[in-house]
């Protein structure tokens, strides 16, 4: 299958999303002192990988489109300026167009690399959050030992913690029944969604504060590319 000029990029993405276990093993093989744990493999396997593949590939396509549009706009502006200057007759001041176009290309490449860094950060954080969510949800439902939707005390806008739940179990028993959500409001409230949002938020913060700090070291390599092409 021919994927066009983006083929090399897509190969890396599809290696990761189509065969995550092999990709983890390959990554570990290239580095000493690391080992692939069964937990890591199963965690990765439980992630919605097709969703990730779509997210990553969309990012690559969007970045390429943005870069091409910016480059085109830069060349258009250059030609427009040159046209105006030639109309005014001050042609001697203009420089070699080839240099100008290459200058635009260098600037756009730097912008593209900047975009790539931002996109990579966003995509990695999203992927890791998605990776942890299934376990987090399972655990939450397990610990609460009740249907997740019945835990939310909607009229007061409070979500009950397990700690709170244990202490005030008796007092809250009535509230935690399905009657805690007034029937008239029930169709408009997604109690389960609220709990999941909170868990997602917790996972995202964990990713940003802990995991991303280790992983973002790799972004320094982009700066070498910038120096190479400018």
């Amino acid at each position: 299958m021919y994927w066009g000029p983006l083929y090399p990029s897509f190969v890396h993405i599809r290696e990761l999303t189509r065969d995550p276990a092999h990709c983890l093993q390959q990554f570990v093989n290239e580095r000493a002192g690391l080992q692939v744990s069964a937990a890591a493999v199963s965690l990765f396997a439980d992630t919605p990988l097709q969703e990730l593949e779509f997210l990553f590939e969309s990012g690559v396509r969007t970045n390429m489109q943005a870069a091409l549009t910016t480059f085109q706009a830069g060349v258009d502006a250059l030609l427009h300026r040159a046209h105006r200057k030639s109309g005014r007759g001050d042609s001697a001041k203009t420089s070699n167009p080839s240099n100008n176009v290459h200058g635009i290309l260098s600037n756009v490449t730097v912008s593209l690399i900047h975009d790539c860094k931002l996109r990579l950060e966003h995509d990695v954080q999203t992927a890791l959050t998605l990776c942890m969510l299934p376990r987090l949800r399972e655990k939450a439902a397990d610990v609460l030992k009740v249907s997740v939707s019945s835990v939310v005390v909607v009229p007061c806008g409070i979500i009950v913690t397990t700690h709170f739940l244990h202490i005030f179990q008796a007092q809250l028993e009535d509230v935690l029944t399905s009657t805690s959500i007034p029937e008239a409001l029930a169709p408009f409230l997604d109690a389960e969604g609220i709990v999941y949002d909170v868990l997602e938020d917790a996972a995202h913060r964990f990713v940003c504060d802990t995991l991303w700090k280790d992983a973002k070291v790799l972004l320094g390599r982009f700066d070498k590319l910038v120096r190479k092409w400018t």
């Binding site: 990761l16 744990s37 937990a39 890591a40 390429m64 042609s91 490449t109 376990r135 990713v207 982009f222």
Partner: protein, 94 residues
């Protein structure tokens, strides 16, 4: 985050921390390679197209003249290209 579920979330997140570190580094590495290749393709292919366009299609002279440089070394291709550019769509029967 509401005070909530923190007591549930934290121990789970702590348990997942170790395998997630490996996953984080693997995903970042794979995406780095994908974006590096994207930047390479953009830079190299565009440069190739620009160079090719300068030399063949537009002709170095045609563009140079347009930008006000010396026009003493005009090639046949430039002449042909200029002629086609100067004729209006009406005169070309379009």
């Amino acid at each position: 985050m509401p005070m909530v579920l923190k007591s549930i979330a934290k121990p789970v997140l702590d348990t997942l921390a170790q395998p997630m570190r490996l996953i984080a580094r693997t995903v970042t590495h794979a995406l780095y390679k994908a974006h590096r290749d994207l930047a390479k393709v953009f830079h190299n292919k565009t440069r190739e197209i620009v160079d090719c366009g300068m030399q063949v299609r537009c002709g170095p002279l045609h563009l140079s003249r347009r930008f006000g440089a010396d026009t003493t070394h005009q090639t046949n291709m430039d002449v042909v290209h200029d002629a086609s550019r100067m004729s209006s769509p009406v005169s070309r029967g379009m």
